[in-house]
Amino acid sequence: MEWFDSGWGLTLIVFIPTVAAAILLAIPRSEEGAAKMIALVASLISFFLSVVAIFQFDFGRADQMQLGTKLEWITSINANYAIGIDGISLPLMVLSTFVVVLAIIYSWDHWPEPHNPKAFLILILFLATGMAGTFVARDLVLFFIFFELVLLPMYFMIGVWGDKQQVTLPIVNRVVEMRLYASIKFFLFTLFGSAFMLLGFLALYFKSGDSQLGIRTFDIEVLSDIATRVDPGFLGSAAPWIFAALFLGFAVKVPMWPLHTWLPDAHTAAPTVGSVLLAAILLKLGTYGFVRISLPILPEQSMNWAPIIAVLAVISIIYGSLACLAQTDMKRLIAFSSVGHMGFVMLGISTMTTIGINAAVIGMVAHGIITGLLFFVAGSMSHRYHTREMSRLGGNLKLMPVMGGILGFTAMASLGLPGLAGFWGEFMALVGAFNPLDGLDLTLFRTAMVIGAIGTVLTAGYLLWMLQKVNLGEPKAEWASVELHDVERTELLAWVPLLVAIVALGVYPKIVLGATDPAVANIVENITRAVGS
């Protein structure tokens, strides 16, 4: 498999969806069957190749970039087409191709209004490229392009296929369509962050030229090498500003309190598949950025900022949980729960320890599959009930036993039940917070750990509350005459793999940790060296 290892494999994984999107463009709009088939096959090939990548991946060297290549691209600014995966990006890349396949299967006969599967599929495929691309990019310019590439399809997905409900904005008192409001909010927030992120990247580029290495570069590994080995002080007094710029870019995507307010609206307004992809992959781009870029390139600044990140993470956890308790809309509740869960991921990252960062990565993967599934189920339920108001639902387990069962199971996974996927991320983040990297404030992190642990109680509280409202009790009278059919075949086809993944990851977390641990250890080692010297 020489060709695969030399970068072609990853390139195909990333760009096959784009090629499929281009083919779809040429197909008439009326040929829905063909369009669906092409999209499915393309996503399956991409997923299959990423499975092949698992087998080609040398887990013994998981701390190094593998299966990649580096080709000259824009020589004038020394930006390269540099791709590759290590133990951290491998699980996330596989997750992204996996979720895309499921999203396409699910959409098979769930088309949100205004229909038009061709355009919808093209957007999904572009998203697929952007998501996988972000995880394989080793060059800041390439990373940025892929990072931004996901923005537009998601914007259109929310704006065109989103919720048409009219909402009144508080204070401003304007009545707008939910989807327009949400999509614009999403776009503005993310773009706001990205602008700063780009500034940060450029600053890194120019500063790297002044370092002892003497070459301006966008290469992540080279930059990290400069920061940790060659010339740790190369950023000088600009370092805090650069970190702040990157922080803004990533924190919006995560999202961290108080930059999170786009998330509930975007999730609520987005069509089901949009919410799923948003929750499962898009949020991970931010946290991945922290692990891949901020920590290795700016270790010392990460140290300085870690307490702030930890505090914000803890606020996210508590705040997200409390906000959940005030929701009446099911999808919105799940959306707010993401704020809390991503808070655990950020808490893990802020500890800067092997355990904490491993917790973050497995937390990302687990949150991706669990919350993805929750959104799938919530979407299917609102598709049937035509409402997401929890006060009108109830007795779902009686009306649709299988659907209710899956919802219950997933909620349990989401509240961090041991033996299921969500547990490891939460627990290990707390473990990490008890003993953060040497030099970080012990008292602060231990307080954060205690508050985080209390957060798990609140998490359990709102999820059980939701289950009680939605799943349990007697069904309301209004549904007596409504025909509600239980889970359909395509839904089951899309959900069962996620269910299996939740259990598998819970029972045998080595699936993820086996790959991440060496890579994380490498990062932490570099940080320790840089901070120590």
Partner: protein, 692 residues
């Protein structure tokens, strides 16, 4: 017994392959038998999964599959126990499931005296209640779901018991919580039931905060999650553990208080009655509430070495719990509630014994209690099944209709009341004796707890007498159209089997005469060198037995009345809440014994009840506060604060766009003109820049 032991000896020597020197007791690795102990843990999960997927297509919703599974656990546990009796086994199997830095995360099965005893108890009680449930749950609306969750319940407890590392124990711990949530909320159509399930889960979750932190601190200090390493380090006096010993011990105990329903976390247990009765039997005897005591037992070498200062707290909590729960049991009308409070009270005994450093006594009480408490619950279930009511005011005179249930229930009650020569007598005596011993060996305050224990023994006997007399004696007061009848054989056979257990279980630890139980428990790594009485402590023996007998006698004289006056009392029993208690007190004033009884009942029980309500109110108050806070955070901060500023920015952008759109004339030539002007400006700018 002797024959059995010899038999076991030969079986054990066949299986044992290697011998190992450890802590004075010869420990073998148990051979194949121990290596395959994981089967016991895995099978219930397989059964649960199978029933979930295919239960609907299996006869009786897969009931017999579930029964078979726990039957296997019982048999396997029994064989293990016998071979352990012959040659003590201490064996651990570990599978690595992840490595993070220097940490190994593993699944493991530990097979030693402590876990084997629990395997046997769980297997025995589960088999009895599963078999019973086959009949009890017949025709239930969700039989399949019930059997799947029930198997999961047993499996989760086995994960906890078999845990070779503290993390796996946490996993089992939470899984038990999940299964109990599913089972308590089995009849979730009623909001009350689903709320009870939620309450159980959440109260436990609160306590689990302590557990989670208590788990991760020692693991970080020692660098391993394994009990072997943590306990080893504790025994050797690892300086980190010495420093944090008190905190860790306290935190772990907070977790244990949640599961084992210790004051002030006991509030969930009475509400947990919402589930089907076999669930209560299993939960109260073997699978859920014993987890906390088991945790203390498992970690006992740790407490005994580096966290010794925590033990008095443990003891006092146990003492408080046994008393207040016992008092509460007196005023209950619901027969299951009486039993539930009695469970809390008995758990208090176990915990108090642990706190007094009597590892064996605490676990021995767990062992005997498992038999008679499950017997009592199943008996109560049989009664409820017959009269279709939980309330004792609807019962009465049932001994004529259901003789088997009556005599088995009676044995159970006597055993619980500590009637001489039944199981509870031996174990309760050992708990009290160990408290007495502790009072003269370093913990003077144990004297108080011992007296509390004696008083509670009296209370226990009293309320059990009340329950028995109200239920089985006097006139039948239920629905006359519906004559009660004895339960089917599938339900009475487990009752009889458990009754035998409730009689003989106590003889496994007769001080100084026959003490296999002590030997079982000391057959483990780092066996705690706790005190074992060489003979009966005559002082507490007499006092404890007398307390029980007087309790029964008072109960008899009070509740074994003729039909008329009892009926008159029952009319007031039906009244709700505190009024009920008040009225009951008023009515019984003229009786001489009543004076004493009322003294106990009115001020003390009310205070306990009031405290109970206070804690309840605090829990729900916190819930309301949280939701108010949540509303405030969401509506106040989120929507009005942060969001509004964002909206303002967005609005501003929109206004600017509205103003600027007028330059979009659509006229190509104007665009071209602008283009050329732009080029010009650029050129001029370029000149200016370059000319410098």
């Amino acid at each position: 017994m002797v024959n059995l032991a010899t038999l076991a000896l030969s079986a054990g020597s066949l299986l044992a392959t290697a011998e190992e020197e450890g802590h004075g007791v010869e420990l073998s690795d148990g051979g194949l038998l121990a290596q395959y102990a994981w089967l016991m843990v895995v099978l219930p999960f397989v059964a649960a999964l199978f029933i979930t997927l295919y239960g609907k297509r299996t006869p009786r919703g897969g009931a017999w599959i579930a029964v078979g599974t726990v039957g296997f656990v019982l048999v396997y546990g029994l064989v293990l126990l016998i071979s352990h009796w012959a040659t003590p086994i201490a064996h651990t199997e570990n599978i690595n499931i992840a490595t993070i830095g220097q940490f190994d995360i593993e699944w493991g099965v530990v097979v030693d005296g402590l876990s084997i005893m629990m395997f046997f108890v769980v297997g025995a009680i589960a088999t009895a209640s599963f078999t019973y449930a086959v009949s009890y749950m017949e025709g239930d609306i969700r039989e399949t779901a019930f059997w799947a969750s029930f198997s999961l319940f047993a499996g989760a407890m086995l994960v906890l018991v078999s845990a070779a590392n503290i993390l796996q124990m946490l996993v089992g711990w939470e899984l038990v919580g999940l299964a109990s949530y599913l089972l308590i909320g089995h009849y979730w159509e009623e909001k009350e039931n689903s709320s009870a399930a939620m309450k159980a889960f959440l109260v436990n979750k609160v306590a689990d905060v302590g557990l989670i932190i208590g788990v991760l601190i020692p693991a970080l200090i020692v660098g391993s999650f394994r009990f072997h390493d943590i306990l080893g380090a504790a025994v050797e006096g690892n300086p980190g553990l010495v420093k944090y010993g008190f905190v860790i011990g306290l935190l772990l105990f907070i977790g244990a208080m949640g599961k084992s329903a210790q004051f002030p976390f006991h509030v969930w247990l009475p509400d947990a009655m919402a589930g089907p009765t076999p669930v209560s039997a299993l939960m109260h005897a073997a699978t859920m509430v014993t987890a906390g005591v088991y945790l203390l037992g498992r970690m006992f070498p740790f407490y005994n070495s580096v966290a010794i200062d925590v033990l008095p707290i443990v003891m006092w909590i146990g003492g408080i719990t046994m008393l207040i729960a016992g008092l509460l049991a007196i005023v209950q009308d619901d027969i299951k509630r009486v039993l539930a409070y009695s469970t809390v009270s008995q758990l208090g005994y176990m915990v108090a014994a642990m706190g007094a450093g009597a590892y064996t006594a605490g676990l021995f009480h767990l062992f005997t209690h498992a038999f008679f408490k499950s017997l009592l619950f199943l008996g109560a279930g049989s009664v409820i099944h017959a009269v279709h009511s939980n309330n004792m005011s609807d019962m009465g005179g049932l001994r004529k209709y259901m003789p088997t249930t009556f005599w088995t229930f009676g044995i159970g009650s006597l055993a619980l009341a500590g009637f001489p020569l039944l199981a509870g007598f031996f174990s309760k005596d050992e708990v009290l004796a160990s408290l007495n011993y502790a009072s003269s060996h370093g913990t003077p305050s144990a004297t108080f707890v011992m007296w509390i224990g004696i008083v509670t023994a009296f209370i226990t006997a009293f309320y059990m007498a009340r329950a028995v007399f109200l239920t089985f004696f006097g006139e039948y007061k239920g629905d006359p159209a519906h004559e009660p009848h004895e339960s089917p054989r599938l339900m009475t056979v487990p009752l009889q089997a458990l009754a035998v257990g409730a009689i003989v279980a106590g003889y496994f630890n007769v001080p100084g005469i026959f003490t296999p139980f002590t030997d079982w428990l000391s057959g483990r790594e780092f066996a705690p060198g706790d005190h074992h009485a060489e003979s009966f402590d005559i002082f507490v023996l007499v006092l404890g037995s007398l307390a029980g007998l007087i309790g029964i006698a008072i109960g008899y004289s009070f509740f074994f009345a003729d039909g008329e006056s009892q009926e008159a009392r029952d009319r007031r029993f039906r009244l709700p809440g505190p009024i009920h208690t008040l009225l009951v007190n008023k009515y019984y004033i003229d009786d001489f014994y009543m004076l004493i009884v009322n003294f106990i009942k009115r001020p003390l029980a009310n205070a306990a009840n009031w405290l109970n309500g206070l804690i309840d109110a605090a829990v729900s108050g916190t819930g309301i506060l949280m939701s108010v806070l949540g509303k405030f955070v969401y509506e106040g901060l989120d929507q009005r604060g942060i969001d509004a500023s964002i909206n303002a920015i967005g609005g501003g952008t929109g206004e600017a766009g509205g103003a600027l759109r007028y330059i979009q004339t659509g006229k190509v030539q104007q665009y071209a003109a602008v283009l050329f002007i732009g080029v010009l400006l650029l050129a001029v700018g370029f000149f200016i820049v370059t000319s410098r």
